[in-house]
Symmetry: C2
Subunit: 191 residues, 2 copies
């Protein structure tokens, strides 16, 4: 499978992918391949792009007083961010690849151009952004109202594959705790 | 100004509002008026609606072990939630009115019907949901990486009107602290 096949495969689950759309995707440069360890976006840098992980694993994080704080992880077929509106603005967090990844990157203008040419994409973009908004809202709400142990139990239940694919110290920082506290929580759960 | 004028006024800032659209809005029942103190949505109840505050102030909160935890506040012309996709599901939080409020409430199907009839609304819905996704993401990221005092300073800077319109104990719970801690933070900042 080449890079674009991943996107076509994804789209064809939601809309009818015409030959023209395939051609257009193949001639575009919206899909980029990144090696494990690459930084896609750096906190503070100006950006306007939307990011969508076709395959792989990304992590968003912030550096604060020298401490690396994980905001979130994004696995295959997950939207990371919607396009940035208003003016070009500094990124709230950095984005790095924890695995070799295929990422769809497009700007507001590219999105508009693609939609103009392929109006059937518009419904998909609308659904995707609404699903993304809902997902982040649920996670934000859960984070605000849960203890680290509750968050960890939730991960085991809802995102078990994440625990296999991501280093433990990053899971700890994602939960808002130190690695030692995560070890204690794991022991408590196992016993 | 009647209830629908608020919506027409809002829409006309983004798209051309035709007489047909005005008629359609006037004959729909998407806009509802709620009195201060009303509960619009109850945590755990099934829902599929999207909520948008045209005028007023809403608060989302969760009851956990008897404690009332504020998730967020929503002032005039703010989207609260995108439409709920997939199946009907239990609400993650309750929504109450802190002031008399005008709220636009619509389901995924109503959104689809309106868009079919008025395709110009689709771009607006797309922009609104992308802006909403971005807003929650920025707030989630900020919450995860800041101390309560930093969050409070951020409120003073970015949402001063909220501090005038909402009780202090709810602001404290929104910041993730007890009212006494908020009093201490305020004293520290003033001195």
């Amino acid at each position: 499978m080449n890079m674009n096949d991943e996107l076509i495969d994804y789209l064809s689950r939601y809309i009818e992918v015409t030959d023209e759309l395939v051609k257009s995707i193949n001639s575009s440069s919206m899909i980029k391949r990144f090696e494990k360890g690459s930084t896609i976006l750096k906190e503070g840098d100006s950006y306007q792009e939307a990011f969508f992980v076709l395959k792989g694993c990304l992590r968003s994080y912030v550096l604060k007083d020298g401490e690396d704080i994980t905001i979130d992880f994004y696995l295959d077929e997950q939207a990371v961010m919607p396009v940035g509106y208003s003016d070009l603005k500094p990124a709230e967090f950095s984005l790095e690849c924890l695995e070799d990844s295929l990422v769809l990157i497009n700007t507001e203008n590219q999105e508009k151009e693609m939609i103009e040419e392929y109006p059937e994409l518009k419904s998909l973009c609308l659904t995707m952004s609404e699903v993304l908004a809902e997902k982040i809202q649920v996670e934000y709400s859960a984070y605000k109202t849960s203890t680290p142990e509750e968050r960890y139990r939730d991960l085991i239940e809802k995102k078990p594959e994440l625990l296999q694919r991501v280093p433990q110290y990053q899971i700890a920082s994602y939960l808002g705790i130190k690695p030692e506290s995560l070890s204690r929580i794991k022991k408590r759960i196992q016993s």
